[in-house]
Symmetry: C2
C-alpha cells in the first residue's frame, strides 16, 4: 500500500477494467469480444500516408509548431460544415478540437460541475465517462436504460429528488454498452426536462455515423433551443482512434471556458493530425470511407447476430443494434453476467460483464457486452459457438 497522500478526488478511483483487460496477456487461441476498438481494416492508412507526406513537404513548419488551443481553424470550419445539419457549430455555438471525445467529456465536467454536485447518467454506461465523473468527486446517479434509451420517467424522478443536479450524461445513439438508440419521443422529453430543471446535457456520440439499419434520428443538439446540449464527437471510430482527434460543440460561453481548461490541460491537440484530418475531410473522402466502414460492420453485426440466434437463443436475449460496435445480451433472471464471463475466460473467450458498466459497481447485472467490430469472422463463429456451449452448462432452466 502507498504512503502517499493523494487528492480526495483520486483516492478511490480505479482504472478502467476493460482497459486493464486489454493489457492482460492472452493466448493465440483466445478470442476477445471485449474491446471497443474499430477494426484496423477500416484505417485509411494509404490515404493518410499520402497526406502526411504532403504535410511534411508543404506545411511542416505549421504542423510541428505550437498551435492555438481551439484547434486548427480550417479543421474547425470543416467539421462545422460537415455537421451543420445536426446543429453542430450553429449560430450561438463554437466548436473546438479535442484530444478525443474523452477530453470533451472531461472539459465539460471541469467547467460545469463542482465537487459534490450530481450527474445523472444511464446505468450501465461508458466506463471512461463514469470514471471521469468520479475523478472530479461528483455524485453519480444511474438511470435505467432499455431498448429505447434512457428511462425518462426515472430521469424526471431523479431531477426532482436528487440535490444539485448539474449534468445529464447520455449516449443517445448506439449506446455503449447497450447498443440501444433513444427514441424521438424520449429525446423530446429529455430536452424539455433539461430546460425545465435547468441542467446541461452532454450528448456523447462517437458512433452516430455508423448506422447499418433503420433511420437516423435528430441529434439532441439539433433539438435544443436553450444552449443546454454539449455535443462530444470523435473521428476515432470513423478514421482512427490512435490519432486522438475529437471535437466538442456547445454554446460559445461554455466553449470559451472549456478552451481555457484545455489550455492548462494539454495546450492543444496534436496539430499534425488535425491538419491531416482537415485534408481528409476537404478532399471529400469521409463519406465514402464511412460507407465502407458500415458495410464491414453491418456484415460483422449480422454474422454475430446469426451465430447468437443459432447458439444461444434459448438462453439469453439481446437487442439488434442499428449501428455502433456492440451487442448487449442478457441472461435470464437470477443469472449473473460476471459469473458467465469468468466461465468464458476459462475457455479463452473474453467478454465484459455488465456490472462493470454500472454506476454502482457492486450492483450485479445479468448483462454482458459483445463487440463485433474487432474479431474476425472466424473468431465470431467460433467464439459465439463456445459461448453457446458455456451457456448450456451455466443456464439450466
Amino acid at each position: 500500500m502507498s504512503n502517499f497522500n493523494f487528492a480526495d478526488r483520486i483516492k478511490t478511483l480505479e482504472p478502467s477494467t476493460i482497459r486493464e483487460m486489454l493489457k492482460a496477456p492472452s493466448g493465440p487461441d483466445s478470442i476477445s469480444f471485449s474491446a471497443g476498438n474499430p477494426s484496423p481494416l477500416t484505417f485509411p492508412a494509404s490515404k493518410m500516408a499520402e497526406f502526411a507526406a504532403d504535410i511534411f513537404r508543404d506545411d511542416y513548419a505549421t504542423a510541428l509548431q505550437y498551435g492555438i488551443t481551439e484547434g486548427y481553424a480550417p479543421l474547425r470550419q470543416a467539421v462545422e460544415e460537415r455537421y451543420r445539419k445536426h446543429a453542430i457549430g450553429s449560430e450561438n455555438d463554437e466548436l473546438i478540437i479535442t484530444s478525443g471525445a474523452q477530453q470533451a467529456i472531461d472539459l465539460s465536467i471541469k467547467v460545469l460541475v463542482n465537487e459534490g454536485d450530481t450527474i445523472l447518467c444511464e446505468s450501465p454506461s461508458f466506463i471512461g465517462a463514469l470514471n471521469c465523473f468520479r475523478s472530479y468527486n461528483t455524485r453519480l446517479v444511474g438511470i435505467p436504460v432499455d431498448k429505447d434509451g434512457m428511462d425518462i420517467d426515472a430521469l424526471e424522478y431523479a431531477l426532482v429528488n436528487e440535490p444539485n443536479v448539474r449534468i445529464i450524461y447520455t449516449i443517445p445513439t448506439f449506446h455503449n454498452p447497450c447498443g440501444s438508440t433513444m427514441s424521438l419521443e424520449r429525446r423530446t422529453r429529455l430536452i424539455e426536462l433539461a430546460q425545465k430543471y435547468d441542467v446541461y446535457i452532454i450528448e456523447d456520440s462517437p458512433y452516430f455515423e455508423l448506422r447499418y439499419s433503420g433511420e437516423d434520428l435528430p441529434t439532441l443538439k439539433s433539438m435544443d433551443t436553450g444552449g443546454r446540449v454539449i455535443f462530444a464527437g470523435s473521428f476515432s471510430k470513423v478514421i482512427a482512434p490512435g490519432i486522438r482527434i475529437g471535437y466538442v460543440s456547445a454554446h460559445r460561453d461554455i466553449i470559451a471556458r472549456m478552451t481555457i481548461a484545455k489550455q492548462v490541460s494539454d495546450v492543444h491537440t496534436n496539430l499534425f493530425f488535425q491538419i491531416l484530418v482537415e485534408r481528409y475531410l476537404s478532399n471529400g473522402l469521409l463519406d465514402d470511407h464511412i460507407r465502407e466502414c458500415c458495410d464491414l460492420y453491418k456484415q460483422k453485426r449480422d454474422r454475430m447476430l446469426s451465430a447468437m440466434e443459432k447458439h444461444m437463443s434459448d438462453k439469453v436475449s439481446w437487442n439488434s443494434p442499428g449501428g455502433g460496435l456492440f451487442i448487449w445480451a442478457e441472461l435470464p433472471d437470477g443469472y449473473d453476467g460476471q459469473t458467465l464471463c469468468n466461465l468464458l475466460r476459462e475457455r479463452q473467450i473474453i467478454c465484459v460483464p455488465g456490472n462493470t458498466f454500472n454506476v454502482d459497481k457492486m450492483q450485479t447485472s445479468c448483462g454482458f457486452r459483445l463487440n463485433f467490430s474487432l474479431p474476425s469472422d472466424e473468431q465470431i463463429d467460433r467464439g459465439i459457438a463456445t459461448i453457446g456451449e458455456v451457456l448450456s452448462e451455466y443456464v439450466v432452466m
Copy 2:
C-alpha cells in the same frame, strides 16, 4: 456576460495572455519577442517524414489503433534509458508518456492537491502552470526568484507559515521567464526542505538539454531520495511542440494514480507520434540534433545579448542565460514593464511584460521577457535597436 453557472474552479480563470497575444493580428513589419516557440528551422522534418512513411507502411495497425494509457512501451523504455543518468525512470519509479509537459503538470495537481491546498512556486513563473494550478481552485503563494533560482529562505518561511502546502513547483534549469538556473547549493536545500516539510516537488524541465554555456547541474530528481520529485519533461523544444509528446517520471505509486487520471482525460497520447519519436531516439538521432539546436540558439542568444549591450545597457539590466529560450530584462526601480511593453507595441515590437508571470497579476513588475529562439537575426538586430530607442524616451535617469 454569460448566464451560465460555471464550476467555481473555472469562474475567474483567464486565458494565457501570451497565447492570446499570439492570436492577435500583427503587421508584416512587426517583430515578436513574445513567443516561447522553438525555431521551425530546428524541426527535423525530413527525418520525421521518413519515419512516418515507414510507420504507415509497417506499423499502421498499431499506430492508428487505441493504445494503453501509460504510453507506447518501447518509447517509455527509450526515454528511461536516455535519461537514466538523471535518475529519471529509476528503481522505484515509473515513467509515462504525456500529451506534453503541460499534461504532466496537470495530472500532478489532479492526483496530489485538493481544492484550497497551497502550492508554492517561483514568482514570476510559467503561466501555463500557474493557470493550471488556478483551475484546481488551489492557493498559490509566490516565492521570489533571482539569478540563482528560487529564494530558498523565502521558501522555508512559506513552508513554515502557509497552511496545507502540498507542492513546490519549480523550473530549476533555464527558468521561464527568468532564464536563471538554480544553484547546486539551493537545489540541495530545496530537496532537504521538501523532505523536512513533507511536500512534493514538481521539477518542470522542458529546456534542460538546451545548454549553450556553463556546466550541467544535477536534476532535482537525481538528488531526491524520498520519492518526492515529479519530473516533467518534453520533446517540444528538442524535436517539435506540435506533436505534443512529453513524459513524467515519479515514484510508481504517484504514477499509478496519474495513469488513471490520464485515462479519463485523453485515454492516451497520440500513438503515431509516440512510435515516431521512439524510432527517432532508437536510431540515435537526438544527440546530434540537440547539438544543432544548441548551435543555432547559442548564436541567437549571443546576437541578442550583443544588441542589448549596444542599445540598452545604460537603461536596463539582464541576466545572461546559460540555455533555454529567454532573456529576462529589468528596468530601473520605479519603471514598469507593462508600460514599456505598451510603448513597444506602438512601434510593432511585442514583448511580454513581467507582471503577466506573477502569481499576483495585480503586482507590477519592472521586468520583461525577450525570446531569442524564434525571431530572425535581422529581427533581433532591428527589434532590439527599436527597444533601445523606446527606452531612451521612457527611462530618463
